[in-house]
Amino acid sequence: MSPFIQAFYYSMTDWSGFTPVMNFIGIDNYVRLFQDDTFVKSLGNNVVLVIVLPIVTIILSLILATLVTVGGRSKGQISGLKHAGFYRVVSFFPYVIPAIAIGLMWRQVFAPNGLVNGALTGLGLDQFINYAWLGEVATAMPVSMFVIIWGFVGFYMVLFVAAIKGIPAEIYEAARLDGAGRFRTAVSVTIPMIRDNVQTAYIYMGILALDAFVYMEAMNPGGGPAFSTIVMPQVLLDTAFSQGQFGRASAMGVILALVTLTFAGLVFLINSLTGGTKKDVRL
């Protein structure tokens, strides 16, 4: 724990890291950070990531998990699709691949002579010949987000599959007898029953989104075109280890932690305001 407390103290000093001098300057670091365009840009990007990534990832993985577990026949026992195991195993692949390798791989896939452009020109869309997906301000961020989502959907899918299997089959059968269709069952039975899992997944994914550093570093070193994909950790590391401004870097760390906590708090708040199930067990 002590590194965390030290970080908080350092953030209030003008320490450069290599001199013993360390003056206490209060919140000066924070004030200066918010006048720094690059930092504000990176903060904004982080906020976008933390909002978009969890929503898209969780919706996509919920859909896939539902298809795998209850996509089978509507008569008789509730059943999943055939080959469900195969889909689960394959979908989980990206989660075990090192993030840096994912980033580098997709950088090549989206490169001007990469797989995506090859496929698009193969379909007759010639304007994409030599299009640099990660080199254009308009597409760099969406493409980067897609890659991060690609990396995590499988993990959450497996998570939700396990959660859905934990729901007693009788509940599904009851819903079916009451005449609920597939879509109705998914919305009114599955989602409420695994609500807590979704909340936890949301928080995990949000924290991961704040930590998009590795992907961004791999795909867009230097912050991408016009800093369109720069994230706070990149600015932090640069400030600390290239510029030697450890006080300011620690202040960034504190801001990042505060954003994380705010985010987790908001998710809990929204969940309880909308009537989240409270089945907590006290140890």
Binding site: G85, F92, V96, N117
Partner: protein
């Protein structure tokens, strides 16, 4: 403070309930839904697998072949790229460093973590809750907040830029998760067995190593796999705390290789390097996937 325990759902890893049963009661709409579902899932599987296969295929091509055509098959099984990546780009050395660091950290963290979790789960003493909550806090705080102070802690210990320094940091970051996971696991083991061992004259140590550890094997195995994947994939910690090129781990070496040469990069060797990084984890995953999938819910929903 309430401890949130999403009631222990022991997701038994039951095999999928699919299977060719009688098809006569399938309705027309089921077929449509089935087709749509399969299409969606196959599409997703393709999105997952195609980039991997393309990377594998391209890793056998020469740079001219790569620029000539995106899809053409390589002229033959050409391992020159792998040789280049392994020796010229130093991926071999980085690979070895990764094996040393991850291997040592894994052993240390598993031994410390299982003992720690056992004691916290089974004995109540002054401050045991406090230790537990400290661990929990360590799990939630982002690494970035700690990275600067950590740099100086290691520097003061003279361990900056060394493999042992990296191992210690890895252990410190993997420990909370390990303890957390195994804590709930040890709590579910029946107390009677511990008592029986005590009556038979086993001391605490003996009970732990000869009775409890073997019983906790499934949990320990899955946490070990998780830690292996997590540490093998670690990037931020080595980038900040291990700047000596000789001590680079694989993920770092890969990033360096990619950025070092800019557009003059030996693309074939880069693809080969990616394959070298990805292959061990995919193999480990495919071998242990059943174990891992079963434990995903248990381990992360606490």
């Amino acid at each position: 403070m309430t401890t949130k325990v999403a009631e222990t759902k022991h997701a038994k890893d039951t095999p999928p309930v699919a299977g060719p049963r009688k098809h006569k009661d399938s309705t027309g709409s089921d077929k449509v839904v089935g087709t749509v579902s399969h299409t969606a899932l196959i599409l997703w599987s393709l999105i997952v697998v195609l980039p991997l296969l393309w990377t594998l295929m391209t890793s056998f091509k020469s740079t001219e072949e790569i620029f000539a055509s995106t899809f053409a098959l390589p002229e033959g099984l050409n391992f020159a790229n792998y040789v280049n990546a392994w020796t010229t780009a130093g991926i071999g050395d980085y690979f070895l460093n990764s094996v040393i660091v991850v291997g040592s950290a894994l052993i240390i963290v598993m031994v410390l973590g299982s003992m720690c979790a056992y004691v916290l789960a089974r004995f109540t003493f002054r401050g045991s809750r406090a230790i537990y909550y400290l661990m929990l806090a360590g799990l939630t705080f982002p690494i970035f907040l700690a990275i600067v102070p950590l740099f100086f802690i290691l520097q003061n210990m003279g361990l900056l830029n060394t493999l042992p320094g990296l191992i210690i940091t890895y252990v410190a970051f993997a420990l909370p998760f390990t303890v957390f996971f195994l804590y709930s696991f040890f709590r579910t083991l029946p107390y009677e067995i511990g008592e029986a061992a005590a009556i038979d004259g086993a001391g605490d140590w003996r009970t732990f190593f000869q009775v409890m550890l073997p019983m906790a094997k499934p949990g320990i195995a899955s946490v070990a796999i998780f830690n292996f994947l997590g540490l093998w994939n670690q990037f931020l910690i080595p980038v900040a705390l291990n700047t000596n090129v000789d001590n680079y781990v694989l993920s770092q070496g890969l990033a360096r290789f990619a950025s070092q040469m800019g557009y003059a990069v030996d693309f074939g060797a880069l693809f080969a390097a990616v394959v070298i990084t990805v292959a061990p984890v995919l193999v480990v995953y495919v071998i242990f996937q059943r174990q891992l999938q079963g434990s995903v819910s248990q381990g992360t929903m606490k």
